[in-house]
């Protein structure tokens, strides 16, 4: 598990020099390879092409199949309350991730360094909660949160997202902190730090990569999610962007070019985060299997 602290292996450049035979392979082969990769790239970029090209048409131009205009972009805010929906998504994402971190960090510290009686069993129970799909407990969950009076605005959804994200963050932080030497914590305690002080001053600063991994993974997960936002945020004025798009799309009455324009806006933040923090995502995905 200590591999978490090493730099990502795939992005190193040292491999280049150790592959002489690759370079000497036939030039034709290389071009075939390059061509295949171009074809795949076209397929993977297809959604973006559809979104951009379609959004640059008016409804009439879209139906006619020719012509371009900015009309759908100009009308976008009239059809979809895009600013408010992006704001809602941002609020829900930030609050959920904050809870996931605030709850997950001390728990990971406890399960790795401050073990108590039954802590191993408790840890296993929490980790196995990762495997419970929301749909499996959807009905009781919905009724419980409704009874708490939290399905109107953001709070219900935030709590549900936090609960669903916590098992993974606990797992990731626990495995990460196992790589931190016990002596470091001991020394802190001997120097008069409280356990909370040790967590805040010693553990959190070295956990930044793990915190980044949890944040990036959860951001994309929550930003892109539909089910929780759809059911647990009943006020249409507090709808996240993904829910707004999905409801309009399912209604089958909204202009498709405008939906595509909205899709581009909803996709942008997650793409930026994704491209900027790719390596943290890879680490998070391969947790527990990377040697």
């Amino acid at each position: 598990m200590t591999t978490l602290m090493t730099p990502p292996k795939e992005s190193d450049s040292s491999n280049k020099s150790t592959r002489p035979s690759r370079a000497s392979r036939s030039k034709v082969g290389r071009w075939v390879l390059f061509f295949a990769m171009m074809v795949i790239a076209v397929v993977m970029l297809y959604p973006f092409w559809v979104m951009i090209v379609t959004s640059l048409k008016s409804e009439a131009q879209f139906l006619a199949g020719q012509g371009f205009s900015w009309l759908s972009w100009k009308n976008l805010s009239a059809t979809i309350p895009i600013g408010q929906e992006v704001l809602s998504s941002t609020i829900v994402c930030s609050a959920s991730i904050l809870i996931i971190l605030v709850v997950g960090l001390p728990a990971g510290f406890a399960f790795s360094k401050l073990r108590f009686r039954t802590s191993t069993a408790v840890f296993l129970v929490i980790v196995s909660a990762m495997m419970v799909p929301l749909q499996a407990i959807l009905m009781p969950e919905f009724v419980n949160v409704t009874k708490l009076g939290l399905t109107g605005g953001y709070f219900g959804a935030i709590l549900v997202y936090a609960a669903l994200g916590t098992p993974f963050s606990v797992f990731l932080f626990t495995t990460y902190f196992r790589g931190v030497p016990d002596e470091l914590i001991e020394a802190g305690i001997v120097d008069g730090l409280s356990y909370f002080g040790a967590l805040w001053r010693l553990v959190v600063p070295i956990a930044i990569p793990a915190i980044a991994t949890v944040t990036v993974l959860q951001f994309i997960q929550i930003w892109d999610d539909l089910l929780v936002g759809l059911l647990f945020i009943q006020n249409t004025s507090e709808r996240p962007i993904t829910v707004g798009l999905a409801v309009l799309a399912a209604g089958r009455t909204t202009s498709i070019p405008e939906l595509m324009a909205g899709s581009i806006i909803s996709a942008l933040p997650a793409m930026v985060v994704y491209l900027g923090f790719q390596r943290y995502l890879v680490k998070g995905l391969t947790m527990g299997i990377d040697r």
């Binding site: 795939e10 280049k16 690759r22 390879l33 390059f34 990769m37 795949i40 790239a41 993977m44 970029l45 297809y46 959604p47 559809v50 001390p106 728990a107 406890a110 360094k113 401050l114 073990r115 009686r117 802590s119 408790v122 129970v125 980790v127 196995s128 990762m130 495997m131 419970v132 799909p133 749909q135 499996a136 407990i137 959807l138 009905m139 009781p140 009724v143 419980n144 709590l159 549900v160 609960a163 098992p167 016990d182 356990y195 999610d225 539909l226 059911l231 993904t242 999905a246 799309a249 399912a250 595509m260 909803s266 996709a267 997650a270 793409m271 994704y274 491209l275 995905l285 391969t286 299997i289």
Partner: protein
């Protein structure tokens, strides 16, 4: 047992025995308190609802009032043809899993050849992973639509009289959903396999090549065995996604239709609960889904566990 080893490693000072006991006790109390919020959140929002689902699965429940019926609710549920349709749809969608693993494996191997610009290709291949499946569903709908890209391609190939409308017919809608699912899984699985390939020692490959092994033989005898753990993980993640992450795609692309052609277990739960108001049956269906993913989950836990 783990508790004792942790105790030994932290308590190395030569303080008096009484003092040591209280220190140990303090550490345990601190540990418990630190873990408590996470425990409370998970138990409150995941553990308790599982128990409630079991109870409510034996009742008639509309979300407000519930009446106890007993085990006959389960017998009744299994007589419902919608449940069998949904289970069948899930089973049929499993046919997409080999493609959702095989294509990314091929793509990862291509990327691993590291031709000029492979980093840019890598970023491009992973990019759709960032977008919501709601958006990908919207795009897929455009792809399969009567005036969509699929028909344009078919016409460009010379079959101008052929027109498909895969999402419009019961016989083809599920295939369209499966194809979309494969596309949405490519980024994640390619990323997993590429990480696996990066841990492969290149000198092994070189040695095999010097010994006269061909590319295919190297792939089968060296690359594939090395990737087995990554393939297992990707398999588990793909199957779990198949059972519990298709909601967005179905909601946007088909709404479960035409008829019940694309209604999977997770969508049936949503429909039964929120469209028909039958919370009891929906809770019961939820438990069936829970068992199905639980089986896959046990495999996953064993994978993680065997590594520690």
């Amino acid at each position: 047992m783990s508790e004792r080893s942790a105790h030994m490693s932290v308590m190395t000072s030569s303080a008096p025995r009484v003092r040591r006991m209280t220190l140990r006790r303090r550490r345990q109390v601190a540990g418990f308190l630190f873990a408590l919020p996470a425990i409370a959140l998970v138990v409150g929002f995941i553990g308790v609802p599982i128990g409630q689902a079991v109870y409510y699965s034996f009742t008639q429940w509309n979300g407000l009032t519930s009446t106890w019926i007993g085990p006959s609710t389960w017998a009744q549920a299994f007589h419902n043809s919608n449940l069998w349709t949904a289970l069948e749809n899930n089973a049929l969608l499993l046919l997409a899993v080999p493609f959702a693993l095989g294509l990314p494996l091929g793509i990862a191997v291509l990327l691993h050849q590291r031709v000029a610009g492979w980093r840019i290709f890598r970023s491009i291949y992973f990019l759709p992973t960032a977008i919501s499946w709601v958006v990908l569903g919207l795009v897929a709908e455009r792809f399969f639509a009567y005036q969509g890209t699929l028909n344009s391609i078919i016409h460009a190939l010379g079959f101008s009289h052929v027109n498909t409308n895969m999402l419009g017919y019961e016989s083809t809608a599920l295939s369209a959903l499966g194809i979309t699912f494969v596309f949405t899984m490519i980024g994640t699985n390619t990323m997993l396999f590429l990480t696996g390939l990066a841990t492969l020692d290149p000198s092994l490959e070189e040695a095999a090549r010097i010994d006269g092994a061909g590319s295919w033989r190297i792939f089968r005898s060296i690359t594939l065995p090395h990737l087995s753990r990554f393939i297992q993980l990707a398999f588990v993640m793909t199957v779990i996604a198949l059972f519990s992450a298709l909601f967005s795609l179905i909601f946007v692309m088909t709404g479960g239709g035409p008829g019940y052609a694309t209604t999977t277990m997770e969508f049936l739960i949503y429909q039964t609960g929120f469209n028909q108001g039958d919370f009891g049956t929906a809770a019961l269906y939820g438990l069936i889904l829970f068992v199905l993913t639980g089986i896959v989950g046990v495999v996953q836990l064993r994978l993680i566990g065997s590594n520690e």
